[in-house]
């Protein structure tokens, strides 16, 4: 601290917008952090699962006798031990199966003293299968007479969604241009660096403690209970540090009830942890889809309508994956001003792996289509491409057909900022002019954007959070909150907000958020909601504590509470910052006075959004935001390789809280989107995953990371904490179509089915050259 003449006076400073480290970073940097994968409990057994390894079959014979006899084996479970324990989104899943519906169906499970013994026991289980004909595409599954996957879901029909608004026939008639394409977003998977893991332990009163990676602790109890046949109240959820989640831990997956059932049977703690190969095969995917989309506009560039007919490969069971149309339809109807919309989606059971939720949740797939069609239309209309985007971009106060209310909307500013920073207009024209000239390497620039919920998503009756905050005799603050920390950095945000309100150093704030017996209700880390919802909850709780503290200080000092402030660990005079009383001292005075009081407050915050109704016509998020990405790429037209040189981002963040965390979320989110766009691809052939390893499933690594130019547009959301909005999904959503549009700009080819792998790009470029009949006829159908 610099010493000046005013050293004794404490000026008002704000935490908001600063750069702060994560409090857990030093322990993570030294290897001290004990992840769930590292945990060992006394008496703990190792659980292992026998997977079917075939996509569709009847189990003709199952004999576990030899496995049970193996010394060191404590329990063997099969489908007949779990009859009736149905769970999952539509209760179509059981922890252990009596029929095989996908490659990774869990047939039996063992608990043994060591991993080696458990593995040997699996090898001793005798199973005879009668293979059944399978269905491996949603089209096949929907066909008359297709093999049935579940008896109680005729026609293999899973979830169905529809939303319509406006007169489509009229809008079509008024359109001068219509683009009409089929997009096929593919299967990818989360690849959390820490593989799936659960440790379960029952006490002798029948209460289960489960250490899990869930990012959704309260609903997790509700979802897990039916898989065990116990009451959700008898489950205690503990969330140790995890190696990533990205949406994959929103659902309960069979290994979790399996760990619990083995623990129940053995009366010992049981740990189940996947190998990387098991992780690839048995953890969820991003939902794949076939999207038939049409978008129309007039010659002067005004959008007239958008339709989407979506067919989804449900896989063998219904998890959160096929619920993505709820988000997709908000993009289809709300990405730009869409006057008329017609949206339909149907999920069909197949014998493929099934999807869960994944960062970007449906919007990755939807924006892949909408943002490419916007780019196509921009080339057709009579106005400048950027003008076209600006003309259709919503402004503050507009309401989408689904009744999403766009308060504090800065879509126009995002477009203008990104375009100006990257010199988009000039480069787009220049590169297009170069497209057909000779030369192996071609440059391209592409713009894409999307809209996403940024104030939670009321998909349940509640999107709220409970917060308990206490300040102790040493002015140390504890925040007990349902907000889970899965690496994303809500811990720092909570510390900063408390520091802002109570004038304490952020490192004096402790967060307790990993035990469902302690922390109050929250709806989990998803839907870009945590900074918004937990931020508001923390702020409200801290403000209650602040009022109590200032009132006590006013009484102690004979001042008016409104003339006082909390800064730098002291009560100060608002006017000049003169320190009057150390907060620590005040806390003890409050505690030990004749009428003692402790500072311990509670708050329940429920955002002002509306529940997502069956008609999908409600303002289900308390805020929405936009992001614009402009990708600049170099394409090797010979090999088809795309190098992403630079990405300019302009995103409505509401208000920056932790600048470092925000940058990290955007850079990291884009990296996941880059993998989706360029290299990640689960090769599933007849239901079997052919590339369950990092060698064949290519994640983005350091050399492929482009230069980032990040622009945070602050819209000051009235409902958000200090104006902040949720931010973490848009980066993953927008990058892929930006690259697709840049690829078109560079080469004149469009890829509809990601990833834009070198083989696919090279083939498309080659085919376009062969076609060569029309100079611009390079749209290759998928």
């Amino acid at each position: 601290m610099e010493k000046t003449t005013t050293a004794s006076l404490t000026a008002k400073k704000t935490m908001i917008g600063q750069r702060l480290n994560k409090p857990d970073a030093p322990d993570k940097a030294t290897g001290k952090t004990r992840y769930i994968n590292d945990m060992v409990l006394p008496q703990m057994l190792i659980g292992k699962v026998l997977f079917a390894g075939r996509p569709h079959a009847r189990i003709a014979r199952l004999d576990t006798t030899a496995a049970e006899k193996l010394p060191g084996v404590h329990a063997v479970l099969t489908g007949k031990d779990v009859a009736g324990l149905k769970f999952g989104f539509v209760r179509d899943n059981v922890p252990l199966k009596d029929k095989v519906r996908c490659e990774h169906d869990e047939i039996a499970a063992v608990a043994a003293e060591t991993e080696e013994i458990a593995q040997r026991a699996l090898e001793l289980i005798e199973v005879e299968y009668e293979d059944l004909p399978g269905v491996f595409t949603p089209e096949d599954g929907a066909r008359e007479g297709a093999p049935q996957i579940h008896d109680n879901f005729p026609g293999n029909k899973s979830l169905h969604f529809e939303f319509k608004d406006g007169d489509l026939a009229e809008a079509e008639a008024a359109s001068d241009f219509v683009v009409d394409n089929v997009f096929r977003p593919h299967h990818v998977t989360h690849c959390c660096m820490g593989t799936s893991c659960a440790i379960a332990d029952f006490d002798h009163n029948g209460k289960l403690t489960i250490w899990t990676q869930t990012q959704y602790p309260y609903n997790y109890k509700m979802d897990l209970a039916p898989a065990l046949g116990i009451h959700p109240g008898n489950i205690r959820v503990i969330q140790p540090p995890v190696g990533g989640a990205f949406g994959s831990k929103l659902d309960v997956y069979p290994y979790e009830p399996i760990a619990a059932l083995l623990a129940k049977k053995t009366a010992r703690p049981v740990k189940v942890m996947y190998s990387r190969e098991e992780e690839f095969k048995a953890s969820p995917t991003r939902q794949s889809a076939i999207i038939h989309m049409r978008t129309g506009c007039t010659r002067d560039g005004t959008l007239t309508f958008r339709t989407a007919d979506v067919l989804m490969d449900n896989g063998a069971y219904t998890s959160w994956g096929p619920t993505i149309p709820v988000v997709m339809m908000r993009t289809v109807s709300g990405h730009y001003r869409v006057p008329v919309v017609d949206f339909k989606a149907q999920a069909i059971y197949t014998n493929n792996p099934y999807a869960g939720s994944f960062r970007g949740y449906g919007n990755v797939q939807a924006a892949w289509a909408t943002a490419q069609q916007m780019d196509m239309l921009a080339d057709l209309v009579d106005i400048d491409p950027l003008e076209f985007h600006l003309k259709n971009a919503q402004k503050s106060g507009e309401v989408t057909p689904q009744k999403s209310i766009l308060n504090e909307c800065v879509f126009v500013e995002c477009l203008e900022t990104a375009a100006a920073a990257s010199d988009y207009g000039r480069k787009r024209k220049e590169y297009a002019a170069e497209r057909n000239k000779p030369g192996r390497y071609k440059k391209g620039i592409g713009l894409a954007s999307s809209i996403h919920n940024a104030g939670g998503a009321k998909i349940h009756k509640s999107d709220g959070i409970g917060t308990i905050l206490k300040v102790d005799d040493y002015a140390r603050v504890t925040v007990i909150t349902g907000a889970s920390e899965i690496g994303q950095g809500i811990d720092v945000v909570i510390m900063m907000i408390v520091a802002e309100e109570l004038g304490v150093p952020p490192e004096h704030v402790t967060i307790v958020n990993n035990d469902s017996d302690i922390a109050p209700w929250d709806v989990g880390v998803h839907a870009s909601r945590t900074t918004f919802i937990a931020g508001n909850g923390t702020r409200r709780a801290a403000q209650k504590a602040r009022a109590q503290i200032l009132n006590a200080a006013a009484r102690a000092l004979g001042e008016l509470a409104e003339d006082l402030d909390l800064r730098d660990g002291s009560v100060v005079r608002n006017r000049d910052g003169a320190p009057l009383l150390k907060l620590e001292r005040l806390m003890r005075q409050m505690h030990f006075q004749p009428e003692p009081e402790l500072v311990m407050v509670t708050d329940y915050y429920e955002p002002n959004s509306e529940p997502e109704g069956a008609k999908y016509s409600s303002n289900s998020s308390a805020a929405y935001s936009h992001a614009v990405h402009i990708a600049e790429i170099t394409v090797d037209t010979l090999t088809g390789e795309i190098k992403v040189d630079k990405v300019t981002v302009a995103q409505d963040v509401g208000r920056v809280i932790n600048r470092m965390g925000l940058e990290g979320q955007i850079e990291g989110g884009i990296a996941i989107g880059l993998g989706y766009a360029l290299s990640e691809d689960m090769r599933i052939e007849k239901g079997m995953l052919k590339n369950p390893c990092f060698r064949d499933y290519k994640l983005i690594t350091a050399p492929e990371i482009p230069t980032f130019d990040l622009h945070f547009i602050e819209s000051y959301c009235v409902e958000g904490p200090y104006g902040a909005k949720g931010i973490s999904e848009l980066p993953t959503i927008v990058i892929a179509p930006a690259i697709a549009n840049a690829l078109y700009n560079a080469t004149g080819v469009r890829i509809f089915n990601p990833p834009m792998s070198p083989e696919k790009v090279a083939r498309a470029i080659h085919e376009r050259r062969v076609q060569a009949t029309s100079p611009d006829g390079g749209v290759i159908p998928s």
Partner: protein, 163 residues
């Protein structure tokens, strides 16, 4: 079923250790399950992700591929061994300060590799850092802040700013 155990002696994070390990045991399993050094992570077991990176006689190795018996007579450093009595190693501190850690699961391996690169080339460039970290997968950070951290150390080591 029990495979033959061999006695091995080696230096681990500056201290001599001696233990018996089965011939089939990997160094990663020995560190995590026998010696309680869980900082070194398992994330693929096939040498494809770098989460298990340790330093053996001055070179980085994927401990999931190395046999435990091959540690015999060597000098092994894990992420737990980088810290000095004064506090975090400068590379660890740079990772903390530059936001290079989110979930942190890749971090031990990433730091071991970054430390190795910096030791051999104290003023390395961003491009060199990118190539040197190619074998380390991070699913959270997008690598930018990792590279910032490595560059910050290189700058402290006297790298000229446009090197």
């Amino acid at each position: 079923m029990m495979s033959v155990e061999t006695e091995i002696n080696f230096k681990l994070n500056g201290r001599e250790v001696s233990l018996r390990v089965p011939a089939t045991m990997k160094a990663l399993a020995m560190l995590r399950d026998r010696l309680g050094l869980t900082g070194t992570k398992y994330a693929c077991g096939e040498g494809e992700c770098g989460a298990c990176t340790i330093n053996v006689d001055g070179k980085t190795v994927n401990s999931c591929l190395m046999y435990a018996v091959d540690c015999d007579g060597r000098e092994v450093v894990t992420v737990e061994g980088l810290r000095t009595p004064e506090g975090l190693h400068p590379v660890q501190q740079a990772f903390v300060d530059h936001g290079a850690i989110q979930c942190g699961f890749c971090t031990p391996g990433m730091i071991m590799q970054a430390q190795h690169l910096l030791e051999n080339n104290p003023t390395l460039t961003r491009e060199e850092a990118k190539r040197g970290l190619e074998g380390n997968i991070c699913r959270c950070t997008g690598y930018t802040k990792v590279l910032d951290a490595v560059e910050a150390v290189a700058d402290k080591n006297g790298r000229c700013s446009h090197g």
